[in-house]
Amino acid sequence: MRYERPHSMEEAVGLLTGSTGTTAILAGGSDLLVRMKGGFTEPDLIVDIKSIDGLCDIRQTAEGFSIGAAVPCALLGENEALKREWPGVVEAANLIGSKQVQGRCTIVGNLCNASPAADSVPALVAAGARASIVGPAGRRTIAVEAVPTAPGKTSLAKGEIIDAILLDKRPARSADAYLRFIPRTEMDIAVVSAGVCLTIDASGTVTSARVALGAVAPTVILVEEAARILVGTKADAATLQKLEEACSAASRPIDDKRGTVAFRKQVAGVMARRAATIAYARAGDR
């Protein structure tokens, strides 16, 4: 086993490409070290990307925000501009684990761990976030929902590293929200979760919306039917009821130690309805 701390993306990509054994990228380590401890992975090479220039920064540009791959989630909550623009994304990121885990974990790690229950992913999918990827063949940018392909699997090729998550600049009267269900008040993995991002016009009518659900399918799902239900309405009670039903219907969960199929289907709808209510109220305030 080898531990390397490259200082540039090129160096990091080179290390990963040149390695013949199992490789692991280390940012926050809150998933990787748990897997190592449990004996589920024994990487031959660990590439710690925290010393790479810019990967620990949140940058605000004319296009929006760029969140470096090694930025701990706690830092998202401390960035007032980001919180103002993307409250749903930040609240999702700040729900991952404890304060201790917050000091380490990253949204890119959360995405690449490819758990269907990842907290930040439904919020990122609803937000239309993109992943900036650097690899042996250069740079490419894809929608975040295209990164996880199945539980524990991603579409990244050998040697590819996500260096940042990109969030667009928001239009006026637009906001997002994220809610998850857990049995305790903290420290749990989401049993189901919902991220909603929407934009309204001056009259309060929804003009566009994205609704994403977590932990109800092998990967986070974007419920287009739910978005269609919202658009053109003022998110009244009847609309929200339809949204809830659509989200429950779109859910294809499993029974496991964290919840049952019936529970997940029902509560997915409730979470989506409540998140939509919050997002709508927030959009009106902007």
Partner: protein
């Protein structure tokens, strides 16, 4: 497996050590440096008993590699008192009997110190959520929360 040479600062002292690439900072502190105040309750970041402060951030030392400490500042429970003078949190934990078995106490003290550094006047709810990453099985948290409240008021007055 080649050892990694690490230079770091622990509780203000310069420290150098050699560790394996997959060795956690918790194991380094406990097994190589004799700093056994941080405890391993789970090894997976779920109990907070191994809490330390790494460059002003509260972390579980079981989820940090020893190699990652290179060039950084580590604060552990052993550095909390100044000489023979206890930190107000330590004093208040004693006065309020905020510990029974005491295994979680170092982690709670470190987490509470970090909490009060970032929020000197927390509400009860903020304390409870701020300390939710630290498990205690003995106290029901009641006396821990009271000790932190009391310490916060003492520290504000100081």
């Amino acid at each position: 497996m080649a050892g990694v040479a690490v230079s770091t600062t622990i509780n203000g002292d310069d420290v150098e050590f050699l560790c394996q690439p997959d060795e956690t900072l918790l194991d380094v502190l406990r097994d190589r440096l004799g700093l056994t105040g941080a405890k391993e309750g789970c090894g997976t970041g779920d109990c907070g008993a191994c809490s330390i402060i790494l460059d002003d951030r509260l972390v579980c030392s079981c989820l940090v590699l020893g190699a990652e400490a290179q060039g950084r500042r580590v604060e552990t429970i052993e550095g909390m008192a100044q000489g023979d003078k206890l930190h107000p949190l330590q004093q208040k934990f004693l006065e309020h009997a905020a510990l029974q078995c005491g295994i979680c106490t170092p982690g709670f003290l470190i987490a509470a110190k970090d909490l009060l550094a970032k929020n000197p006047d927390p509400t009860e709810e903020e304390i409870r959520f701020g300390l939710a990453g630290n498990l205690c099985r003995c106290t029901g948290y009641d006396k821990i929360v009271r000790a932190v409240q009391d310490a916060a008021s003492v520290m504000k007055g100081a």
